[in-house]
């Protein structure tokens, strides 16, 4: 290919392969192994250079970016938390004024929920699910790339506006009328509503891709009843995203309309109602916390199984309890609204539903204890974090039962008791498992082991710091300290417990810093990990660390629920996928029998272009409603560019219908029904 032609392909990755070879199909087994690996890498890998990086549609590249970006947002959210703790350490502290404090607590919640917790869980799924189900890339890779860019753009936008003193300042729950046009003039709330749109579009796109990957791209033999608990967790999470996130998107649309074009959804003077916001928001907001928790249960399942050296006890019970948590979580949003004057019977119903969640959660805990009981636990840092998860999560679960009681909640609601409760559930239930997952999969991501000593130090610092920070908050809440106050009077007597909490925050911060030091130094100098350093059972450990761009030289055939533990010496493999095309095997939804093949799209800059178009539109909407119709045009152009056929992709496609004889056509059509 001539150089000028190459530069002409501004958007599309040009095919640099030797053109004539494209005529011949190259299939697995046609070439010697090293040549085949090279060809596969050329087919599946990112193209070189910065442009190749931008255009990547490889699930591991995107997943890694997603994880790192989410982790950076976690650090930013953490810094905000430390600032809040400094402010609250003493009564009538003047470190932060009310304006800045309100922005900071809003930014902290918004960052942790929308920019850290959900994205990082989905990021792990993007990286690990295709490996665990034994395929070469995630379904709809361009949409996943788009989801990453839009997420990044949303997060950057939020922090830029925050630095410009236009950060949202009425809480991550953004209650109207406080967030409405009358009581929050200016652009701060518009920034919040647009951030929600950014992150929801991103989360929804990824969720659809994960569901499709899990249902259609599993390796032969990986029938649903053999699916690792981790993958089940990601499946349940994705379904929950699909049904919960539209509610918050819709509510942010309603609020945007109220603020921009004068609709009256939440205006009681014109027939609207502020409580409508709370219903819509919590219909999303409660499943949201389980969207964060359920993937964490998946990590725990993987880690417990690996480190107790036996298959997890009660596979069916674990899967069913995750499914039921998913279902029940949609029926208890009203427990955020017990103080809004509901009829008692309604409250009792939602109390019962909320407490009911404790049954599947308890079942999970009991199954894991049984697994550890009958196994031979190995104390490596991932297991340590998992055990830390048990203690904190049980604690958070029990305080959750307390706040689920409608009567007790009248006292506990909106106090520091609730702050303590949900940090026990979210840090205990999601961040500890996440750090367990970091320590567990770090060797897979990088090919190097984390330092075990530093890993244990990280755990003890985080665990001690966490409990010192949040345990006293239970008592603060019972002693009457409301949430979201930027200061308190000295005579309230809350000073010492708050100081203790702040001290704990420092220790917790040290723990996170230890982890960063560990990760940065081990990335280059850690011991080589090998394929499967923990002797784990899932397919992700059945390839090199880090995995090659094509994941597997040959797709594995799964012989049992613990795929690698059940693998026999003469285990069969899949053969016959093309090595020169991004061809993946599509299997049947239930029993994963090979069904057909499909060529996944190639790397492309169009997702990035699309993300830029959507970003410009959404940011424009902060200022004027006209940005929406104006933004449709570039977005439509990007969408057409994205979907328009590219000649180099057609090389891998079945021949064109026009060239078939009618007999051939009939035969092809019959096979495809």
């Amino acid at each position: 290919m001539k150089p000028e032609e190459q530069s002409a392909g501004v958007i599309e990755e040009e095919e640099t392969a030797e053109a004539p070879e494209a005529e011949r199909e190259v299939r697995e087994g046609d070439l010697p192994e090293d040549e085949e690996r090279r060809l596969l890498d050329k087919t599946w890998g990112d193209k070189p250079g910065f442009r190749g990086w931008l255009a990547s549609t490889n699930h591991k590249s995107i997943g890694k970016r997603f994880i790192i970006t989410a982790f950076i947002f976690f650090l930013l959210g953490g810094i905000l938390a430390v600032l809040m703790r400094i402010q609250l350490a003493r009564p009538e502290n003047t470190f932060l004024g009310p304006d800045l404090y309100n922005q900071i607590f809003t930014m902290h919640g918004t960052t942790m929920m929308f920019l850290f917790a959900v994205p990082v869980m989905e990021a792990f799924a993007i990286y690990l699910v295709p490996l665990m189900v034994g395929t070469r890339n995630i379904a709809f890779p361009r949409m996943v790339a788009f989801s990453y860019w839009i997420y990044l753009a949303g997060g950057v936008m939020l922090f830029v506006f925050f630095i410009l003193n236009t950060g949202p300042d009425v809480g991550w729950f953004n209650y109207v009328p406080l967030s409405g046009p009358e009581f929050s003039p200016g652009k701060r709330i518009n920034v919040w509503t647009q951030l929600v749109n950014f992150t929801e579009v991103s989360a929804l796109g990824v969720a659809v891709a994960i569901i499709t990957t899990i249902f259609k791209q599993r390796a032969p033999g990986l029938s649903l009843h053999r699916l690792p608990v981790f993958v089940w967790a990601m499946l349940v999470m994705s379904f929950m995203v699909v049904f919960a996130m539209p509610a918050v998107t819709m509510s942010s649309v309603l609020l945007t309309l109220d603020r921009l074009v004068g609709t009256h959804f939440f205006n009681p003077a014109e027939g609207g109602d502020p409580l409508l916001w709370q219903h819509l928001f919590w219909f999303f907001g409660h499943p949201e916390v389980y969207i964060i928790l359920i993937p964490a249960l998946g990590y725990i399942a993987s880690i417990i199984q690996t480190f107790s050296r036996r298959k997890v006890f009660g596979y069916t019970a674990l899967v069913l309890s995750m499914l039921s948590i998913g279902f029940i979580s949609f029926g208890l949003w009203v427990h955020h609204m017990f103080t809004t004057g509901l009829p008692q019977l309604g409250s009792s119903f939602f109390s019962a539903a909320s407490m009911m969640i404790a049954i599947p959660s308890g079942t999970q805990i009991f199954c894991w204890i049984a697994t550890l009981w009958s196994g031979r636990p190995l104390f490596r840092s991932p297991l340590l974090f998992a055990i830390g998860f048990f203690f904190t999560f049980i604690m958070g679960g029990l305080s959750g039962v307390m706040v689920a009681s409608a009567s007790a909640d009248l006292q506990l609601h909106d106090t520091f008791f609730v702050v303590a409760h949900f940090h026990y559930v979210l840090i205990g239930g999601a961040v500890f498992p996440l750090f367990a997952a970091f320590h567990y999969w770090f060797p897979k991501f990088t090919g190097r082991m984390l330092n075990e000593g530093l890993g244990k130090l990280t755990f003890w610092l985080m665990f001690t710091g966490f409990n010192l920070t949040f345990f006293p908050m239970h008592q603060l809440g019972l002693e009457g300290m409301p949430r979201r106050v930027y200061t308190y009077l000295p005579e309230m007597g809350w000073g010492n417990l708050n100081l203790l909490a702040t001290t704990g925050g420092v220790v917790l911060t040290l723990g996170v810093l230890t982890f960063i030091v560990n990760a940065l130094s081990s990335r280059r100098r850690g011991a080589r990990a090998g394929d499967n350093p923990w002797g784990a059972d899932t397919l992700d450990w059945g390839t090199t660390s880090p995995p090659p761009s094509y994941n597997f030289l040959r797709l594995p055939v799964v012989q049992g629920r613990e795929a690698l533990w059940a693998r026999t010496e003469d285990a069969p493999f899949v053969e016959g996928l093309r090595s020169d095309c991004r061809e993946v095997l599509i299997t049947k939804t239930l029993d994963a029998e090979p069904d057909n093949k499909m060529v996944l799209p190639s790397p492309s800059l169009w997702p990035l272009v699309m993300a830029l178009a959507v970003t410009a539109t959404l940011i424009g909407v902060i200022f004027t409603p006209w940005a929406l119709p104006a933004g449709m045009i570039p977005a439509a152009i990007a969408l057409i560019g994205w979907g328009w056929p590219k000649r180099r992709d057609e090389r891998c496609e079945r021949k064109r219908v026009e060239e078939m004889s009618s007999e051939e056509r009939r035969k092809e059509a019959a096979r495809a029904q």
Binding site: D273, D595, R654
Partner: protein
């Protein structure tokens, strides 16, 4: 890597498949689920606001007109026929028939969008008059947004096909696109009932 004793050879498997055997179908269904949830959220908001009000529509707002919306509903329901024929032709890899019925479907879609502009006027209320006006505008607005993007999408696929890109996967896209069209039509029925009929008996 040593070759396993028994390999599963997938060379001969079909390279495209219709319906839920293909990936695209799952993507489309995923987005249908998302969009249904969005519209159901709108419906729930409608009934919630209805419940808060004493009179519906709140006076002095008039009831919406019925003539144009009903005509348009009929037109939209009718458009299922050509789209179904497109889907059938696509499943037989019949480019010519698919294109013909596609054109008919698109024409009906464009006509529908055009009449939609009149439908907003038939509401007899503005979005900023009261919460009732806001919610009915929202429901129709969200639906129109989906409908318009579906028509554009259909035009693009038709152009791809007409331009001579006749790989089988575009025929699969036609059937998945038809699925989306059915959804747009089906979801309009509750929208119509809620916006135009419900105020008469709620």
């Amino acid at each position: 890597m040593k070759k396993g004793s028994a390999t599963i050879d997938v060379t001969g498997l079909p390279e495209f498949a219709f319906g839920n055997r293909g990936l695209m179908w799952w993507g489309v269904v995923g987005f249908l689920a998302i969009e249904t949830t969005m519209l159901v959220t709108c419906f729930a908001s409608y009934f919630y606001l209805r419940d808060r009000a004493t009179d519906w529509p709140p006076p002095p707002t008039l009831l919406p007109d019925l003539l144009i919306p009903t005509v348009n509903l009929g037109l939209l329901l009718l458009s299922v026929v050509p789209i179904h024929l497109v889907s059938r032709a696509a499943r037989r890899l019949d480019k010519r028939r698919a294109l013909i019925w596609m054109t008919v479907g698109i024409t009906m879609g464009i006509a529908f969008v055009a009449i939609r502009a009149l439908e907003f006027r038939a509401l007899n209320v503005s979005w900023d008059t009261n919460a009732y006006g806001s919610i009915v505008w929202l429901i129709i607005g969200v639906h129109t947004f989906h409908l318009a993007s579906e028509v554009v999408e259909t035009i693009v696929i038709t152009l791809i096909l007409a331009k001579g890109h006749t790989e089988p996967k575009y025929f699969v896209d036609l059937t998945d696109n038809a699925l989306y069209w059915y959804f747009i039509v089906a979801i309009w029925i509750p929208c119509y009932v809620i916006v135009f009929l419900a105020p008469r008996f709620l």
